[in-house]
């Protein structure tokens, strides 16, 4: 089992080498990058937005219900919501959601192309199919996912504000004051880096699984599942490593 795992890791890195070889035609890759941006990033805006607004609201209620001590200033609700969002939710939770959405999209698309011989057809034309199909996906997901993180952060804060305003659990002025309190700009860099790394893992692992899918439509389903499971586990592992390295 260990041997199989090591072999798989080796195959993954060989695959990445193939993916990041020089493009045959930069203009076509750019066009593909735009298409992938639409498919992977722009189409994810809605789900990220909806989840972020609701989670922001939930965080506000949960934090407020845990800060009932009259000696603690209520503005800490806003502060805690902001810190929870930027440190963990907007990067890790959003990445786990994207692992499902983006990961299954990539793995099933490439897997279907593999079993219908479309990838073989590209190879037979002399096109580096791995580079043409995968490189734009990985670059779009890695470079642009921090924008989704920023969107998630802003909408999460707005979600918290809406709940605070509607329920009156604390004064909105306190919430706003908490959001502004003791802000550490490095957390934005940390969160952007984490999101980019997680989306690199999601896009590369699901591409690897899809590209080498076999065994018909069932095989495509299995590769999609494997991609999501592997990406989710690695996201949590790297979350721990990056947090340890960047915050301590």
């Amino acid at each position: 089992m260990i041997k199989t795992a090591i072999e798989k890791v080796g195959e993954y890195f060989l695959f990445l080498r193939k993916v990041f070889s020089r493009p045959e035609n930069a203009r076509l890759y750019w066009k593909q990058f735009i298409l992938e941006t639409d498919k992977l990033i722009i189409s994810s805006i809605l789900i990220v937005a909806v989840i972020s607004i609701f989670i922001g609201g939930v965080l506000a209620i949960q934090t407020a219900s845990n800060l009932e001590n009259p000696f603690i200033d209520k503005m800490y609700v806003g502060y805690m919501v902001r810190e929870s969002l930027i440190l963990e939710f907007c990067s890790t939770m959003v990445a786990l959601i994207l692992a499902g959405k983006m990961g299954s999209n990539i793995a099933s698309e490439l897997g279907s192309m593999r079993i219908t011989e479309q990838i073989d057809a590209m190879d037979m034309m002399g096109v580096n199919s791995a580079a043409f199909l995968v490189q734009p996906k990985i670059i779009a997901a890695t470079l642009l996912s921090p924008l989704l993180m920023m969107l998630s952060f802003i909408l999460g804060l707005i979600g918290g504000y809406i709940v605070v305003d509607f329920t009156g659990i604390i004064r909105t002025a306190s919430y706003i004051e908490g959001i502004k309190y003791s802000f550490n700009g490095f957390y934005i860099v940390y969160s952007c880096f984490k999101t980019a790394l997680f989306c690199f893992l999601i896009s590369s692992i699901s591409s690897f699984e899809g590209y080498y899918a076999g065994g018909g439509s069932l095989g495509v389903g299995r590769s999609s599942t494997r991609a999501i499971v592997a990406a989710s586990i690695l996201i949590l592992m790297f979350d721990l490593i990056v947090t340890e390295v960047m915050l301590y």
């Binding site: 045959e24 035609n25 076509l28 279907s112 192309m113 219908t116 011989e117 479309q118 073989d120 057809a121 190879d123 037979m124 034309m125 002399g126 096109v127």
Partner: protein, 252 residues
Amino acid sequence: MIEVKGLFKGFGDKVVLHDIDAVFGTGQCNMIIGKSGSGKTVLLKNLIGLFEPDRGDILYDGDSLVAMDEGRRKLLHQNIGVLFQGSALFDFATVIENVMFPMNFFTDWSVAQKRERAEFCLEKVNIVGSNDKYPSELSGGMQKRVGIARALALSPKYLFCDEPNSGLDPYTSILIDKLISDLTKEFNITTVINTHDMNSMLEIGDNICFIDSGTIAWKGDRHSILDTDCASLKEFICANTLARNIMEGQGR
């Protein structure tokens, strides 16, 4: 011309191809025939470089495929057109975009020149007025024809067809056969067709290799195939009622 010399290929302990020697001539419809599981698809995949032979060599006009580095193989692949069993048209592209796809990568033609060439290829395979359709909107026969047009886009010297008639009705099958044969003659292409369709063999088989249990059991053409003494080939042919009736009628 493509020459295969002493080719061996196996997977694990199982030897699939055993000492294959064959010559596929230019301007001819060369056919690899045999039962399912006989090794003909493995041979075709060795020929086009999707599998590496365990032993032996494949020569493209004298150049060894086995000895080629990746760069030379890429150049060779630009001279190869492949029609896959399921057509393998790109789902994300329209008919015209599919045909223009190899041109986008390997030519510096203008969009107008590429479009003109694509339309010429589509006209050759009798696809007119479907340029903006997606593959899912085409019938099986039309998909095959677009697949042939795409394979012809860069004027290949070699054309490989993997079971071009599978899943098609007899009338469309004959049209596809005639089309492949006509294009082979017109553009002087070395065409290799992998099939077990008796009609195709008898219609367009200029050079036929019969594979049985991983080895070439018989070589000939469409005129001599019904006179064969090879027992396994006779058994293969007589599985087809029409061919059996012809052979019985001729006292073979």
